[in-house]
Symmetry: C2
DNA sequence: CAATTCATTGAAATCGGTTTCAATACAACC
DNA sequence: GGTTGTATTGAAACCGATTTCAATGAATTG
């Protein structure tokens, strides 16, 4: 079954038309007689011909290929269920739009810059999606200087004009905290993250909820980790002397770690300390008790990023869209 | 900073040589005078010129791009930390070899077939890596019929001649079971998986260890799940009437679920029932107590898959390599 | 010194498509 | 009937590199 190489020329010969006509048929151009169209399609079908992606790209300067750049340290891509979920949403929507997805993981800032430089200049990709959020973005300048469309996932620090898709972290923080207040908890702590914009926003939401309910901010109830399980365990340790009766923990992974710490101290969740997490990814269900948490539509963020990117590719003039998707409180057993 | 489009022709003009010469310099061909070489490189450096990847591919029919195909149902890619870890190893090694990685997730058998058909015929990829293991592979025939090099990850059912990289699941099963035997446990159960070759192999290892130690196989101590946390929880429930004092659970995620079931029954790990898992991915550390488990070098599997694939691409004649990487027992608190 | 080899370079073909431009044919209009 | 417009098609240019082939000149050989 030696699939001998089929080119558009061979198809043209078989159908007794020119290459140009075959190309037009395949690209669904108008002004082709039904007869010719049928003849060409028949041959294409019979032979199983498929256009060479590379040649199409070169000629049309549209590759139908987009990139996903994840400039993150090895550890978190590994551990954090955030990335698989996101990737899932992206690949799914990319495929639905007949886009091939290229994946770039970068382990250092420098490597990220190099990766982006190479993408910008080698003409392979129609556009790129970049997970931002936790770095002060030198990349943004680089990207704006190039002419490859891009969309950030998560709000980059200090961005003015770049398109991004994020979740509504402030609303999430407020929702979580307000829920704890309404449940009657008095000393509501937060384990936040000060390494990224989402962490900042969730903390802002926390503050806003306290304020709205006339509660003062108690600095001793505020600590910051880095979203990882380990940091959750440690920060909870730091928090115990302040005797909180509830904690808003800004990632489920940290919540998992925190619960372990509480168990070690023979404190029960939620009887002794209530917990609300953030993410609603797998750790939320793995926790014992299962977490009351804020659900972020991570998959949708990925989907929307692809759609937004494709829109920009098609219509580069449009002003950039900056979107924050709504979040939702999921009540389970931990609060 | 309008990066006006640089082509090899412009570089050639600037350096006052022909396109061909520039190409040779850039590809490090021999027989170029040092003087010309230096002149060209200087211009290239000054202008920041980079070759157009697409054009190179078309002309040389080498894209330096490989694909990773994951034909898996949505759920597991999402949940299972196996895939991120694997992907990590693959992207890392791909990058080190200056390969771009394209990612394809397929949610159904049919979609997988279509994806592979398209890869096989559109000339974009130099080769592909496919995660196998849990499907009876119609894909294998399809791949063998095409002329794109490939490597499987995990041993496909019934493969004869296809190259694959796997971990030594039989040895792992034997190691885990033997350890439990040596620790003096008497009624050693297994929660296996009968949906994939790795599950079969781990079960074979379990049987072999029993046999070597002169223990009879007790059917009531053998149940099968599907590697997921939920199935772990359920199968453990099924297992309790048989009163095991130790369980070899063939994935850490299942072990996590199983431990939850045990806790619900007020059974303690490892005092009442000891557990050995398999994988040594994040769930192993999230479990309480942390899992004694079999470490699979998943990242290495990914790396090796890339290297093997590149070797095949360079040298298609070589007979296919089928490799099983060694595993290792990691002793923690659960047994 | 003529003949041969070898390093160095450029012109042109090539990869497999898309797209522009011009040509033709046929219908519609004044 | 001549003019205009429009649908349909093909020839050829083009995308931006690599690679083949031939040409040149210098170095080596007999």
């Amino acid at each position: 079954m030696a699939t001998q190489k089929l080119t558009i020329q061979k198809i043209a010969d078989l159908a007794q038309v020119s290459k140009a006509t075959v190309s037009r048929v395949l690209n669904d151009y108008p002004h082709i007689s039904d007869e010719v169209k049928a003849r060409v399609l028949k041959i294409v079908h019979e032979t199983g011909y498929r256009r060479n992606h590379i040649a199409r790209t070169l000629a049309s300067s549209r590759s139908n290929m987009i990139g996903l750049v994840i400039p993150s340290d090895a550890q978190s891509v590994f551990t954090d269920p955030y990335f698989p979920t996101l990737t899932q949403g992206i690949t799914y929507t990319a495929k639905r739009n007949e886009q091939t997805l290229a994946l770039f993981l970068c382990e250092s800032e420098e490597e990220g810059g190099e990766t982006i430089a190479s993408i910008l200049s080698n003409g392979l990709l129609d556009g790129i999606i970049i997970t931002a959020d936790y770095k002060d973005y030198a990349f943004e300048k680089q990207l704006l200087a190039g002419n490859v469309p891009f969309v950030f996932i998560g709000r980059p620090f200090d961005t003015v004009c770049s398109p991004y898709i994020d979740t509504d972290n402030q609303a999430g923080g407020e929702l979580a905290t307000a829920y704890l207040i309404e449940q009657g908890y008095q000393r509501i702590a937060i384990i936040g993250s000060d390494k990224n914009t989402s962490g900042d926003d969730r903390y802002i939401g926390y503050q806003r909820a306290l304020e709205k309910h006339g509660r003062a901010l108690d600095e001793s109830l505020v600590v910051f980790g880095d979203y990882s399980m380990e940091s959750g365990a440690q920060r909870m340790e730091d928090l115990l002397p302040a005797k909180p009766d509830a904690v808003f923990i800004t990632s489920d992974a940290m919540a998992l770690g925190a619960i372990r710490t509480l168990h070690r101290h023979n404190l029960r969740v939620p009887e002794d300390i209530a917990i609300v997490g953030f993410d609603d990814l797998s750790p939320a269900l793995q926790a014992d008790p299962q977490l009351t948490t804020i659900r972020q539509p991570i998959g949708d963020v990925g989907s929307l990023a692809v759609e937004t990117l494709l829109e920009i590719i098609r219509n580069p003039e449009r002003p950039p869209r900056q979107i924050a998707l709504p979040v939702e409180l999921i009540v389970r057993a931990s609060a």
